[in-house]
């Protein structure tokens, strides 16, 4: 298999490019996606290749360009909506939640909304509280939405292609701080299935579950813990909804310990959901309560030192693993 070493942003770009070539009904719109080549360059070169009919700059009107995309999806097209930051998707929630998520059910199956809302989610570097939010727990709360949060270029490309082909509305959460991460991925076309977690490292002592950027911290923690003689089974959830509980539960049945690492807040977060499901399905197998490392319960502060303190980090993950294992 021939390989290419590319950044996450390029992998995502290739996914959009390949799907636009494959299906003439796929188009992309959003702020600065066309002439500016994307605020984070995910759409670089697409305007030159596909023209302004299919790569469309919008004014700063999130609610209405999202709604136009939803209406286009209801009438046969397959829009990709880029939010320059998922923080801006709040403006569009009426269309995402009230129309896209509910339309198929509410219309008795008459209309579907095959659409992808994508863009960077989570904390970047010192952009403070309005620009640092993790929205997976918010969107995963609504039946009708699929929520995906890849951690690397391979998954990013394969999952975005699957998302574009999916007949349902998909929230596709990228991360600004990993757009530049490089990885060897196949040059040939491939898909990554939605709803399948990935076991990144096999282990026997504790299961650690995460997704998106915090997977990097978990990998570093896993390597450090290995040196200390603790064998971590590290799982990248990849898809938040539908969550691959089978893979997580099978792992916990084996390791008897579980730690969830989430960049977002603890309260009513994805970690709370995973923890609940694990106590529900693995109650007898657990040798300690399910543990969480999350963002602390404050709006994100600007100051570098406070921001770092608020977010999960390798040291907190290692400490939480020790606490859970009591060793």
């Amino acid at each position: 298999m021939s390989m290419q070493n590319i950044e996450m942003r390029e992998a995502l770009r290739q996914a959009i490019d390949e799907e636009m070539t494959r299906d003439a009904n796929v188009f992309i719109l959003g702020e600065e996606v066309a002439q500016y080549n994307g605020a984070y360059k995910v759409t670089k070169g697409l305007l030159a290749k596909y023209g302004e009919k299919r790569v469309i700059d919008t004014p700063i009107s999130e609610l209405s360009f999202a709604g136009i995309a939803v209406g286009a999806a209801m009438t046969g097209l397959r829009p990709i909506v880029e939010f320059m930051s998922f923080n801006f998707s709040y403006l569009a929630t009426d269309q995402i939640i009230n129309t896209a998520a509910k339309m198929h059910y509410m219309s008795g199956g008459r209309f579907s909304v095959p659409i992808v809302f994508r863009g960077p989610n989570g904390a970047a570097a010192q952009v403070a509280c309005t620009h640092s939010q993790s929205l997976e727990a918010l969107y995963a709360n609504f039946p009708g939405l699929i929520v995906i949060a890849p951690s690397n270029a391979y998954d990013g490309k394969g999952l975005l292609k699957s998302a574009i082909r999916n007949p349902n509305p998909v929230i596709f959460l990228e991360h600004e701080l990993i757009y530049g991460d490089r990885m060897d991925i196949p040059t040939e076309e491939y898909l990554v299935p939605i709803g399948k977690a990935n076991i990144v490292t096999r282990g026997t002592d504790i299961t650690i579950v995460s997704w998106s950027r915090t997977m990097k911290m978990c990998k570093a923690a896993q390597e450090e813990l290995a040196k200390q003689g603790i064998s971590v089974e590290l799982i990248d959830a990849r898809t938040i909804k539908p969550l691959d509980l089978d893979t997580i539960a099978t792992s916990v049945q084996k390791t008897h310990f579980c730690l969830v690492v989430e960049e977002g807040h603890a309260f009513a977060g994805i970690g709370a959901e995973v923890g609940f499901e694990i106590q529900d399905t693995c109650f007898d197998a657990l040798d300690a309560p399910v543990a969480r490392v999350c963002q602390l319960e404050t709006p994100m502060p600007y100051s570098k030192i406070l921001e770092a303190e608020s977010l999960p980090n390798v040291a907190r993950i290692i400490k939480a693993a020790h606490n859970t294992l009591s060793r």
Partner: protein, 336 residues
């Protein structure tokens, strides 16, 4: 005096002819009977939730659906029973939906505020929710190079929502063939339009002009004025591929919803506006012109009443959805 689009009733009557005019009157009466009977069924406990009646406004959507071919796209607010009826949903399917039955328009999932047909995107439950989605249907048509336009009905209350402004801007910037029809019944629930929208009497026209969109005002109680205006606007949207704004001045004879006793307007005001009931206005014109007789009208009225009574029977006798189907349709299950 509002400057309405100068339609020519006599020319419209000549062009439509007796058969179509009779059918139009029948459609308006079917809506009227449907709404009144459904309201009664609500009060008897057969129907729940919110229920927004179209009584008083029938001339507008009836005229629009008479002019504009049903292969175009349509969307409206939660006051949506009439549009679904006009676009081919049967009284049976709509009444069964109100009753929450499996045979309903959305299999009991949508209810009064969320009704559909193959080219009616909704029935949108949130004020202004339909506006950008309707523009999206116009976007689709333009993208594919097909000739449909999109027709978006909204109330006067939605004029104050930001998405109306955003969507007019985008529709003009992108030249989307979308006809926005503001049905100004003067009341956003209990708040008069003059308390909700600045410069309300001139608002829609000036707003459209700001976005370089043509507009007109129509007398929403006068079927012929609506018909003439929609004919002109439909032609303009189709030939120019550009958006267009119509404001229809109208009156709803009922409360905002079934639970609204309408205490904000006096009985005298309501009586005065009901003097311009669009159905008698149309009927009296047709009788005066010798196109139909009183007896013809009685026969149509009776047939509509019976049709709606049959739909009540159908809805009542239809089974509720199976409890095992509760989770069906949350996601589209078939592959792409």
């Amino acid at each position: 005096m509002t400057d309405f689009y100068p339609s020519n009733s006599d020319a419209i009557i000549r062009s439509l002819g007796r058969e179509r005019l009779t059918a139009i009157l029948q459609k308006m009466l079917l809506i009227r009977h449907f709404e009144l009977r459904a309201e009664a069924a609500y009060q008897q406990g057969h129907i729940g939730g919110f229920f927004h009646s179209y009584v008083g406004q029938e001339a507008i959507q009836t005229a629009a659906c008479e002019v504009i071919d049903h292969t175009n796209w349509f969307a409206t607010s939660y006051r949506c029973h009439a549009l679904a009826l006009l676009l081919g949903a049967t009284p049976d399917a709509l009444m069964a939906e109100l009753f929450g039955k499996e045979s309903g328009n959305a299999h009991g999932r949508g209810g009064s505020m969320h009704m559909f047909s193959d080219h009616m995107l909704g029935g949108f439950g949130i004020v202004s929710n339909q506006i950008s989605a309707a523009a999206g249907a116009a976007f689709s048509a333009k993208y594919r190079g097909t000739k449909e336009i999109s027709v978006c009905f909204l109330g006067d209350g939605a004029m104050a929502q930001g998405t109306f402004h955003e969507t007019l801007n985008l529709s003009s910037l992108w030249s989307l063939p979308c006809l926005f029809v503001v049905e100004n019944n003067e009341w956003g629930m209990g708040t008069h339009v003059s308390r909700a929208v600045a410069n309300s009497e001139q608002f829609s026209g000036l707003l459209a002009k700001a976005y370089n969109i043509e507009s007109m005002k129509l007398d929403g109680m006068d079927f012929f004025n609506c018909y003439g205006g929609f004919e002109e606007a439909y032609k303009k949207v189709r030939t120019s591929g550009r958006p267009f704004v119509i404001e229809c001045l109208t009156e709803r004879f009922k409360g905002h919803s079934i639970s609204d006793p309408g205490l904000y307007r006096t009985k005298e005001d309501l009586k005065r506006c009901m003097e311009r009931d669009p159905i008698p206005l149309l009927k009296n014109t047709l009788v005066a012109k010798g196109i139909i007789t009183e007896a013809d009208y009685e026969a149509i009225d009776k047939a509509c009443r019976e049709r709606v009574l049959a739909s009540l029977k159908f809805a009542d006798e239809s089974p509720f959805p199976g409890l095992k189907t509760l989770g069906t349709g949350v996601y589209v299950e078939e592959g792409p």
